[in-house]
């Protein structure tokens, strides 16, 4: 599906002395089957922005369009099934006595029959490599296991767009690598993924497009090469190294991913 935000503004506590304008006119689209990375400092409006994508927050002005249809006219439950949102630290919302019951929470609300729900629980736990945790209590798991189970709980709804708000924050490198592999896997299955992150290296690895937010506005949007080479102060280590070398070696090109950069550096003739 095609998800589009048009000139979205959001004011928290509007009409009170505590009013804060968190979004000041954001327009961007999520294309079918792409991975969109959203970067920006704390307080830049990233989390507020993604909460608009399934209308957990309603824009103060501007609109959210799903396949060119105003999202407010869709049934809320339907919209939230199609646009799966995984909060920051999603493990804080685990509640059921066992992992499989927790993952079944969302699909069993969709009116599916029991077999279908079970199938979905099994499948999403499998995709996250957590099938062996199914009968455990979610409260007895490690941080990385909890995170994977919580993401499975959203994936089990079968969303067409999956939004991950800082999914790798506080994770060990192995679990982080696993989540990045999941994102690529989902994209290959035709699901769009929006990933909010502070980690530029990880955004560089998986994103097809990058959107940089600053102070509630889109500061830059485009392919990782465009955004990172256009704003070196926002760029990951690979791009910073490459752009320094490029001054004397223009044939280096615009590599962004680690492998690309390594290959480009190796291909350099001479010394």
């Amino acid at each position: 599906m095609n998800l589009e935000l048009r000139d979205v503004h959001h004011v928290y506590a509007a009409g009170t002395p505590f009013a804060v304008e968190a979004l000041r006119g954001v327009s961007l689209g999520v294309e079918p089957g792409e991975v969109l990375g959203i970067i920006g400092g704390t307080g830049s409006g990233k989390s507020t922005l993604v909460r608009h994508m399934n209308l957990l927050l309603v824009p103060s002005s501007g609109g959210v369009l799903v396949d060119s249809v105003d999202a407010t006219t869709l049934k809320k439950s339907e919209l939230r099934r199609r646009v799966g949102l995984v909060f920051q630290f999603p493990e804080a919302a685990l509640f059921a006595p066992s992992v499989e019951e927790d993952v079944a929470f969302a699909p069993s609300r969709l009116g599916l029959d029991e077999e279908e729900v079970e199938e979905r629980v099994r499948e999403s736990l499998r995709v996250l490599g957590a099938e062996d945790l199914a009968t455990r209590s979610p409260f007895a798991l490690s941080g990385g296991e909890k995170r994977r189970v919580a993401i499975a709980g959203v994936l089990a709804m079968g969303p067409e767009v999956l939004i991950l708000d800082e999914p790798t924050a506080g994770l060990d490198p192995a679990t982080r690598e696993r989540l990045l592999a999941l994102i690529r896997h989902l994209r290959d299955a035709g699901i769009s993924v929006v990933i909010v992150s502070h980690d530029l290296d990880e955004v560089a690895e998986v994103a097809d497009r990058v959107c940089a937010l600053h102070d509630g506005r889109v500061r830059a949007i485009g392919t990782p090469a465009e955004v990172f080479y256009g704003n070196p102060e926002l760029a990951p280590a690979t791009v910073r190294v490459a752009s320094l070398l490029k001054a004397s070696r223009p044939e280096l090109g615009d590599p962004v991913r680690f492998d690309e950069t390594l290959a480009a550096l190796k291909a350099l003739p001479g010394k």
Partner: protein
């Protein structure tokens, strides 16, 4: 935003009083209101309380909002007195319902009393920062330390509880959002279904609160906290002449109210 008992931070003569003076004055007022047995007396106390509110520089609209949560109780009390009291002359007769003058007076009297009780307590919490309030309570309870009452610990518990109300509220909002994203609906169905729909919010909220409590205890101990003994304060409370004056004025107002 402002709800019952929320601190309203402005500078005013009432805010500047020693919290102990305000706590004792409020306690005296709340207990004493039950001794005032005439409507005129209550009206007198009400007028002086209004003057205090004006002195506290809390916008009157915000202060009236404090009273909103008790309006239901007031309305219920009034309805009971108006319809079920059979004293004095009949004012209206409508089927089996009779409204007597005695009932009307009693309703007015009780409504005033409830509103005054809540206003007095509300004025205390609206003009006293939670930390100052806890310090004041600790000081007032400290004579009980001699018989083994943990005054400091009780005050610390109150401070922490007050401090974490907004944090837990925020946490609850986040969890509600996360469950809503998983298809939970908190506004559909009857009361029973709605109560059940809160389980996915209350369980993680409780688990989180316990985890937070552990972390806070460890953080406090890492910073050398070891209970009240020998502990000094950043802000020392000083009972000044104006505090004694405020307390005497309160007692005086109450006496006049009782006599009227």
């Amino acid at each position: 935003m402002t709800s019952l008992g929320q601190f309203y931070p402005v500078a005013s003569p009432v805010h500047g009083l020693d919290p102990r003076a305000k706590i004792v004055a409020t306690a005296v007022l709340v207990a004493g209101l039950f001794l005032v047995d005439s409507t005129v007396g209550l009206l007198f106390v009400a007028v002086t309380l209004m003057i205090l509110v004006a002195l506290s520089r809390i916008p009157i609209r915000n202060f009236l909002r404090l009273l909103r949560p008790v309006l239901f109780i007031v309305a219920l009390t009034v309805a009971f007195q108006v319809f079920f009291s059979r004293e004095g002359a009949i004012v209206i007769e409508w089927g089996f319902l009779e409204v007597h003058t005695g009932g009307l007076w009693l309703a007015l009297f009780l409504a005033l009393r409830i509103l005054l009780l809540v206003s007095a307590a509300g004025l205390l919490t609206a003009t006293t920062a939670p930390v100052a309030l806890a310090d004041g309570i600790e000081d007032l309870l400290s004579p009980l330390k001699r018989v083994g009452f943990p005054a400091h610990e009780v005050a610390m518990m109150m401070t922490i509880a007050l401090r974490f109300i907004p944090t837990l509220g925020e946490e609850a909002e986040k969890i509600k959002g996360a469950q809503a994203a998983r298809g939970a609906d908190f506004s559909e169905g009857g009361p029973l279904r709605r109560a059940r729909s809160l389980v996915p919010v209350l369980v993680p909220l409780t688990v989180g609160a316990f985890r937070r409590a552990d972390e806070l205890a460890e953080a406090m101990e890492s910073r050398g906290y070891r209970g009240g003994e020998g502990r000094t304060r950043y802000r020392e409370l000083r009972f000044r002449r104006k505090d004694a004056l405020a307390l005497s004025v309160t007692v005086f107002i109450l006496l006049v109210g009782v006599l009227l």
